[in-house]
């Protein structure tokens, strides 16, 4: 007899889920705990950490020591965080503006074509993001694909100086994460009964009102999911900011990467990561709450 096997239903369920708990524990929880611990230690000048407790990393987020060794408020990092949120919001909005019509168009196609288009949208994921971002340097850069013909035609006289700007970063981020916006929106648009659109126009809704009163409210879960899927990796992105922003215009992700790779201040990098993590968790909690409220409201009676 297998005496050690659980007898109750709850125990059996737990046993069945054990492998996934194990994987999540090893690959997610443990690294996160390490990060949390590191953020409260002192940096080792040659990389890594010294096992001495310290909150210096968190202090550094907001303050610096002036020449007289006084702690003064330093908005530098706060500004970077603020910029990161701004750029990520911009990129998310761009993704939404481009992604929604794309998803809507695909929904209107006949079924066999729809699958093809969805497949095409995922194709960029087959190539390394680094290489794809380099391609944008060729497109946007001095003497690049956009500038050269415009210069040759005499429409512009000087370089547009598109590279190394916030705009370039936003474009890079938008490009990187656009599929993550299209796919969830498509998934929820596809579930909409298109007879509802007929019903709305039958009831005197204009084309715009059909969109705003019926289609968008019904695919709100997809829109929110898409925004979260784009916004969160944008916050932590460092390839697009480094390559297209020239590394001068830092974002949170590039700042974290810089602390680990170059500045050798692991605790500070870890503290920044913890800040990023808590921001994301707070946003997700808000989303989960609003989703639950909606489910309660629409729940079957």
């Amino acid at each position: 007899m297998n005496l050690w096997l659980p007898k109750t239903a709850a125990g059996k369920r737990w046993l069945g889920l054990a492998p996934s708990y194990f994987v999540i524990g090893i690959f997610m929880l443990v690294p996160m705990i390490i990060m949390g611990v590191f953020s409260f230690l002192e940096p080792n000048p040659y990389g890594g950490v010294k096992p001495v407790g310290s909150v210096a990393a968190y202090v550094k987020l907001f303050f610096e020591y002036d020449l007289e060794d006084q702690l003064v408020f330093n908005p530098g990092y706060i500004n970077i965080i603020f910029r990161s949120f701004q750029l990520s919001t911009g990129a998310t909005l761009l993704c939404l503006i481009i992604g929604f019509p794309v998803a809507y168009y695909i929904t209107l196609l006949p079924e066999n074509r729809r699958n093809l288009y969805i497949y095409l949208i995922t194709i960029p994921f087959w190539t390394n993001l680094l290489i794809r971002t380099f391609a944008w340097i060729i497109i946007l850069g001095r003497g690049g694909v956009i500038e050269t013909p415009l210069l040759a035609a005499g429409i512009i006289e000087d370089s547009l100086r598109m590279m190394y700007t916030d705009g370039a970063i936003a474009i890079g981020l938008t490009y990187s994460y656009l599929p993550l916006m299209v796919l969830p929106i498509y998934a929820s648009l596809e579930k909409i009964d298109f007879r509802l659109l007929e019903a709305a126009s039958d009831l005197y809704a204009t084309r715009l009102e059909v969109m705003t009163k019926v289609v968008i409210p019904l695919c709100k879960p997809g829109i929110i999911a898409g925004c979260i899927l784009v916004f969160i990796p944008c916050l932590g992105a460092f390839i697009a900011p480094n390559l297209l922003g020239g590394g001068k215009k830092l974002m949170l992700g590039s700042l974290v990467q810089f602390q680990f790779a170059s500045a050798r201040n692991w605790p500070f990098g870890a503290a920044l990561s913890m800040l990023l993590l808590s921001a994301v968790v707070i946003m997700l909690i808000f989303y989960a709450r609003s989703a639950r409220k909606r489910a309660d409201m629409e729940g079957s009676g």
Partner: protein
Amino acid sequence: MTVAIDIRGVTKVYNPDSKHPVQALDNVSLSIDDNEFFTLLGPSGCGKTTLLRLIAGFEEVSGGEIMLFDEEIENLEPNRRPVNTVFQHYALFPHMTVAQNVGFGLERLKKPKSEIDATVERVLTLVKMMHLGDRRPNQLSGGQQQRVALARALAPSPKVLLLDEPLSALDLKLRQAMREELKQLQKETGITFVFVTHDQEEALAMSDRIAVMSDGEVQQIGGPTDIYEHPVNRFVADFIGDTNFIDGEIVEFNGDLVTCRIGPNSLYEAMNSGGHSVGDKVTLFLRPEKITLAAAGDSNDMQTRPGKVANMVYLGNQAAYTVDMGDGVELTAQARPREDGKLPFGIGDNLVVGFSARALRVLAQ
């Protein structure tokens, strides 16, 4: 009488440029009077729903005109046509409450809030759904959703209400109850109803007039008794109710009756429908309920003939008998079970089959 909808030579072809264009409607013309309960009846694929969708504006006509109270509407967007639709599967907005669904059309028409609230209350009361205004559609039963869909379409006071098989998703009892309610509602509101169905019973029970359609064409337009008693062709006679068809040849005219030869040497008297001459091959039709069956030996003053029960189907309140007339003709007739529940005849019994020459009719086409 004012004409509500005038369909003039409307044609609809799907995929006209493809290799396989589908002709859904072929030069259909009909007028629907104001304040009328008009039904488009036909089997699936006959074009009835297409015609309704053309009136609503969900499809574009390939040719012809649609007039709504003397205004040409066939090129208007659906939201510019003062008609509303009750959809087959209700198509209620799942993210809105019942009251919001019903108020949707009025809001789009930019009516003042107080008027919207009053109208929503009035139509919800009309369909007996006032107490469920705060519910969401997925919290309602099929019958309740049907009522909300009806209320939503009635709320903007359309000039014409289009109903696309609205009862087909309901179970039998509810369907029968809703029939009477719909008819009642039409009388109360005075709105012209255009009702699409494939259910001939529904059509006969509710309609002022019926257009029977098949293969994209209108076969016959008329009142329920007209359609049932005087079908113009075999399709209509076959589609509405049960019918016996007998193929024959006209031998002789005799006032408004004709004598037809059936098979090699059997003669039947039948009602003429005009437009035929001696020697024409014609189809005669006879409704089963117009035939009386009696045990052999019982006499009858109608045209009686001997027959033999070939088959029988028990239906509860009656039994359908297939009677072999001995001359190649088989007739389906009905008989009620006796008071003790026993059936009057069994398979193989000899009978006397009686029917009036006025019940046996020559089809016009």
